[in-house]
Symmetry: C2
Subunit: 252 residues, 2 copies
C-alpha cells in the first residue's frame, strides 16, 4: 500500500544444527548470567552435564504435558514459549533469547512441562537433566541465587502482564507488548527500532490476549499516527516516547 511496506528487514538466522556444537559450549556456559560467578573449572565440570541439541525453525522442543526431565538453555537463536488452551486459542508467553532457560526446574517426581517450546528461528539449546542442574546449584549457592533472581524477575514480568490484561484495553496492551519486545529484540535501523524476530499479527494477538484482526486494526492506527512501521512478519518502532505514553496513559 505505502512505501513503508518494503521487504522484510528481519534477518532470519540460519543456524544449521551442525554449527550448534562443541566449540562454543564453554564460552556460552561461562557467559550465562547464572554461571557468571563460577570458576573456570566449575564451568568445565558443569559443561560435562550438558549436551547440545539443534532445531530448525518451527520444530517443537518440548510439548506441554509431557514428562519432564530436562532443563534447556538457549545457546543461539530464539525460542517461543506457548500454552495451548482447550478452546484452541494459544497463548504466547515469551520469546527467549540466548542465555535464557526453559523446561523443568522443579524436583518433584512426576513433573511435566508446563509449556510448549518451539524454535522460532534455527536454534541451538543445551540440555541438562533437572537433577544434575539442581546438584550444580546446590554446590554453587551464588548460581542458585542468580537463578532465583531470574525466576523472580520473570514472575514480576508475568504479574505485570496480568495487570495489563485485567485493566487495560487492547491498544495499550499492544503498545506495551511492542515496547517490551523491542527492549529485548530491538535493533536500531534507519526505519526505527526494528524488532528482530519474525512476528506475525497472530503472534502479537496471542501475546496480548486478542485476535489477529483487532491487532491489525490497532497497528494500522498506530502506523497512521507515525508510531510504528510494519509489514508482513515484522514491526519497527518509529516513535518510542509516544508509544510509551500510549501504553501507560492511553493517550494517543
Amino acid at each position: 500500500m505505502t512505501d513503508s511496506r518494503r521487504r522484510s528487514p528481519v534477518e532470519v538466522e540460519i543456524v544449521p544444527p551442525a554449527a550448534c556444537s562443541i566449540d562454543l559450549r564453554l564460552e556460552i556456559l561461562g557467559a550465562l548470567p547464572f554461571f557468571a560467578t563460577l570458576s573456570p573449572e566449575a564451568v568445565a565440570a558443569a559443561n560435562e552435564r550438558f549436551r547440545e541439541q539443534g532445531f530448525v525453525a518451527g520444530e517443537t522442543i518440548t510439548y506441554s504435558g509431557e514428562s519432564a526431565a530436562f532443563l534447556y538453555v538457549v545457546a543461539s537463536g530464539q525460542v517461543k514459549l506457548l500454552h495451548h488452551t482447550h478452546a484452541g486459542k494459544d497463548v504466547l508467553l515469551d520469546v527467549l533469547t540466548p542465555g535464557e532457560f526453559f523446561g523443568n526446574l522443579s524436583a518433584q517426581e512426576n513433573a511435566v512441562y508446563t509449556e510448549t517450546a518451539v524454535a522460532q528461528t534455527g536454534v541451538c539449546v543445551l540440555a541438562v537433566a533437572t537433577q544434575a542442574f539442581r546438584a550444580i546449584l546446590e554446590q554453587h549457592p551464588a548460581a542458585a541465587l542468580a537463578v532465583l533472581d531470574l525466576t523472580n524477575s520473570r514472575l514480576q514480568a508475568t504479574q505485570e502482564r496480568v495487570r495489563q490484561l485485567s485493566a487495560y484495553p487492547v491498544e495499550q496492551r499492544i503498545a506495551a507488548t511492542l515496547l517490551r519486545l523491542a527492549e529485548k529484540l530491538g535493533e536500531e535501523q534507519e526505519m526505527g527500532l526494528l524488532i528482530q524476530t519474525p512476528l506475525s499479527r497472530e503472534d502479537l494477538a496471542q501475546m496480548t490476549g486478542t485476535t489477529p484482526e483487532s491487532t491489525s486494526r490497532v497497528m494500522s492506527q498506530m502506523q497512521k499516527e507515525g508510531l510504528i512501521t510494519s509489514g508482513r512478519q515484522w514491526v519497527a518502532i518509529t516513535d518510542q516516547p509516544a508509544l510509551a505514553a500510549l501504553a501507560e496513559d492511553g493517550l494517543a
Copy 2:
C-alpha cells in the same frame, strides 16, 4: 432473600499484635517450607535476623513503589497482595497464608516493592533484611532451592492466570478462581466447602479482571444452578465437580 444467606460463616481471626511474639517464632521458622532442611541450630541462627511485626485487618504492610529492603514471611493470618493501576482499577494478585513470603527478594540496589501488601485479617509477619535472607540462602543451598521452587510454582500459577485472562470468559475465570481459593483456604462445613476468608464481590472481580457487577451476576447464576452458596463477604462451594467442569470446559 433465601435461607442460604445466613450469618457469615467466616471466622475472622482476631490476632492481637501482642500474640505475634517471641514464643512461636522458632516454631514457625522451623516449619517454613524452605527452612525445613535446616538444622535446629541453623534455624536458631536465622531467627536472630528476623523481627516480628503485627498488623490489624486493613493495615498496609508494604506499599508498591516504596524503597524495599525487607522480605516478609507470614506467620499467622492472611495477607492480600495487590497492584494499583493508573486507571484506578486494582488487581488482586494473591492471598497469602502462613508460611508464604512477600516483599523484596532481589539483590539489586534501588529495589522497590512491586506490589502492595495489605493485612486481610489480623496478621503477624516476620521481617528480615533482604541481604540477611540472601546470606542465609547462600549458606544453606537446600533452602535456596526450596525458595526457588516456591517462586517457580508461583510463576506457573501466574502464567495460568494469564492464560485464563487471555482465553476464557468471565464465568469460567470466576469458577477457576473460586476453586483455586478453595484449594488454599477451603474448609469443609455442612453447607459445603467454605472459603475461609472475608471475600467481597469486588475482591473476586479484582482477581478475575472483571467488575463487581459482573461477578455478582455470574455468582447469582451459579447459585441458581446449585454450584455455590454465598452471602456478604463469603462463598462456599456446594458442587465442586460441576464447578470444575464449568471452569475447564465452559459447560454449565
